[in-house]
Amino acid sequence: MSRRSFLKGAGTLTALSLTIGFEWTVRPRLAFAKSVAPGGTGGAPFVPNAFVRIGADHRITIIAKHLEMGQGSYTGIATVLAEELDADWTQISVESAPADVKRYANLAFGMQGTGGSSAMANSWMQLREAGAKARAMLVAAAAAQWHVPADEIKVQRSILYHPDGRTQASFGSLVAHAAALPVPEKVSLKDPKDFSLIGRTDSPRVDVPAKCDGTAQFTLDMRLPGMLVAVIKRPPRFGGTVRSFDAVPALAVPGVVKVVQVPRGVAVIAKNFWAARQGREALTVEWDETHAEKRSSADIMAEYRALADKPGVPARQQGDTATAIGKAAQKLSASYEFPYLAHAPMEPLDAVVKLTATSCEIWAGDQFQTLDQANAARTAGLDPNQVSIHTLYAGGSFGRRANSGSDYIVEAVSVAKAHGADGTPIKLQWTREDDLHGGLYRPMYFHKMEAALNAQQELTGWRHVIVGQSIVGGTALSAMVVKGIDPTSVEGASTISYDIPNIDVQLTTTQTGVPVLWWRVVGSSHTVFAVETFIDEAAHAAGQDAYAFRRKLLSKEPRMLGVLDLAAQKAGWSSGPLPKGRGRGIAVAEAFKTFVAQVAEVTVDEHGQVRVDRVVCAVDCGTPINPDVIVAQMEGGIGFGLGAVLYGAITLKDGFIEQDNFNSYRVLRMNEMPRVEVHIVPSGEAPTGVGEPGVAPLGPAVANAVFSATGRRMRILPFSREENA
């Protein structure tokens, strides 16, 4: 293929709209239809609301306000709307919504964005109503044409049936008529017993075929005519700034077009990635490190350890914990250390920006559209409504792309601005080293726990002290901090549902120069580890079975009990001990109103090497919308969590990040993945999310299993830390 034909090909891609064709039957093909005028052939489409468009060509387009980053949001969104619409799945495609907070706000956030496992929970009624109203208008159109009462018309797979049993009409044939009708104020929704799409166990994802043949469109794959590629050389230590730089050697690299200073460092802009990267290697920058963070993570942890002995800000105060611990028949204490963690999504961060004096067009796996729009506008000197965002598939995120400072988007805009804001499309590309060195890590934390058991071996007091940085403090989301408590620092600890009379949870918020961010399951990525391993210690100290001990303390929590019982039963918890060197551990948690319990089985070899053989998982996420997506998210959460527990750590030495790539930032690989069994609790409750909660109990379930196998408590993460040897 010649370069010319590539560029010609790139031209057609510019008109690409994110439309994914799919169908229930399995067929390995397709996905990106070329941009088609709304409705295709045959006149204007029927657009009853912001979430669905039906064309005379029978094509049904569902508009997704949430990012698809692997969690299955597109499939879930399509399922819920199509259910109430009674649509034929073979006619459906999903398209990403533009950035428009008025129409596409996450109802849980008040702004457009995806996170907190909220996509299905906040969309549930909105999408059901959107589907039901569209259906009602199509039915009203048919009723008018047939002169029959609307409630005598049946709808199945995009076909309306006349009460005479013979006459039929397709959705497509009614769009013109339906579009002329008023949108009903109120509409009745289906009785869940009549659901035919929601709850189907064999429901294929809408995005899978394109992800099996290389055609799925990620930001990395964006090509626009004349597009340039930029990489940024950033300060090696957080807080460093550019003092001076020598662009000459970089400009000497063939293909390098410009070298420009931007707020985050120095950008090398080139005709292609390889030239940009080589240019960056040739570039020399002198950094001003006056205000740079120069401490090591070990120094910071030592400070945290000392801070844990001082009073923190109360996050939950119930009863009189000091007295309970003072009078205890048996006192327990333990401390835990959690490292910084990188998200390391497979697609390194990237964004394409086309900036002019009056407009800014962005292509990205965008997760926080409203904030990204505002931050891009501020950077460009434009109004937010001059910024448009095309949300593409994200190659993973785990929270990384949802940051209120929009770091990578702002960088891309700043490069386009420094280039001259002349409408040249510029793709900002991070490398894996940029990703691991780039900050916005899950914060490092120190936890100190104390518990009291009375003479009857009952848990009477519980103290949990957390020390670490705030994720939202000092950001655009700082209003979330209430009375000195960042809820993301304490969730999973202050919210424990164990029935303990005296509970004291405290938080000491620290400051460092290391930028931090939420990471899959947020606070529960560390709090649940401490809670669920310490409760295990309490059970052991009380001489009771870890499962039975939890059961007693959860007697008023039916959904926690439900998953705990299901996991224990399916794992054969009561089937007797495993052979020597092996162990079983259990843990349960609630995160984002989804309940998950897991039982892990491990083998520990003579060198202390932990191998997780099997994980049995029970989940209660309310009404299961796509059971197979739920299973996949539990499997994935288990693998993601396990990699972090075994190996995950970002460490600093004199302010320099010690991990560069996947050789030093180790993540879980195929040979380390346990067998996983997932069981879903049947439920008619409103649906909650599944992207994150599966991560929460995995670490403690594994740590408790290691204790069962070896008698050793794992309190310093990751397990690979030499202190654990």
Partner: protein
């Protein structure tokens, strides 16, 4: 400088820096974007292509090294093992974010082309160089076994 090789069955000449990794030559000069960039150091397998039928990490292979050779990317996958793998990937609903899956599929196809009945240990050996941060490993394993079975039928 230009390099000539066979790309997905067609003779192809790319006018690019011979030290440029094959990954970027495919993506930015041949216009084939199915092969992904994940690490740049042959550590994650997202960039896996076949060179002379063998799975190779294209992010760390200079373009000059494929002169005169047969290179296959996800776009050019053909044959029974490839079809069986892609069909199994869909049936088992393997992908989540999907970004690593081109590389996973390329590694899986190469495995089945050389070993029609892989054991779990064979799968571990062949696939442990391919990272999936969504941890779709359970399904990748199941899909490879399923594809192998389909090929034996």
């Amino acid at each position: 400088m230009s390099i000539t090789f066979t790309l997905n069955g067609q003779s192809t000449t790319l006018d690019a820096d011979p030290s440029m990794p094959v990954l970027w030559a495919l993506r930015e000069f041949a216009g084939l974007t199915g092969t992904k960039f994940g690490c740049g150091m042959a550590l994650c397998g997202a960039c896996t292509v076949h060179v002379e039928g063998q799975p190779v990490r294209s992010c760390s292979l200079p373009l000059s090294a494929v002169a005169g050779k047969q290179v296959t990317s996800i776009e050019g996958l053909q044959g029974k093992p490839a079809q069986a793998v892609q069909a199994a990937w869909i049936r088992r609903q393997v992908p989540q974010c999907g970004y690593c899956q081109s590389g996973q599929i390329m590694s899986a196809v190469a495995l089945l082309e050389s070993n029609p009945s892989p054991t779990d240990a064979d799968i571990d050996t062949a696939m442990s160089g391919n990272i999936c941060r969504c941890a779709t490993y359970v399904r990748i394993r199941a899909a490879i076994h399923e594809a192998a079975e389909a090929l034996r039928r």
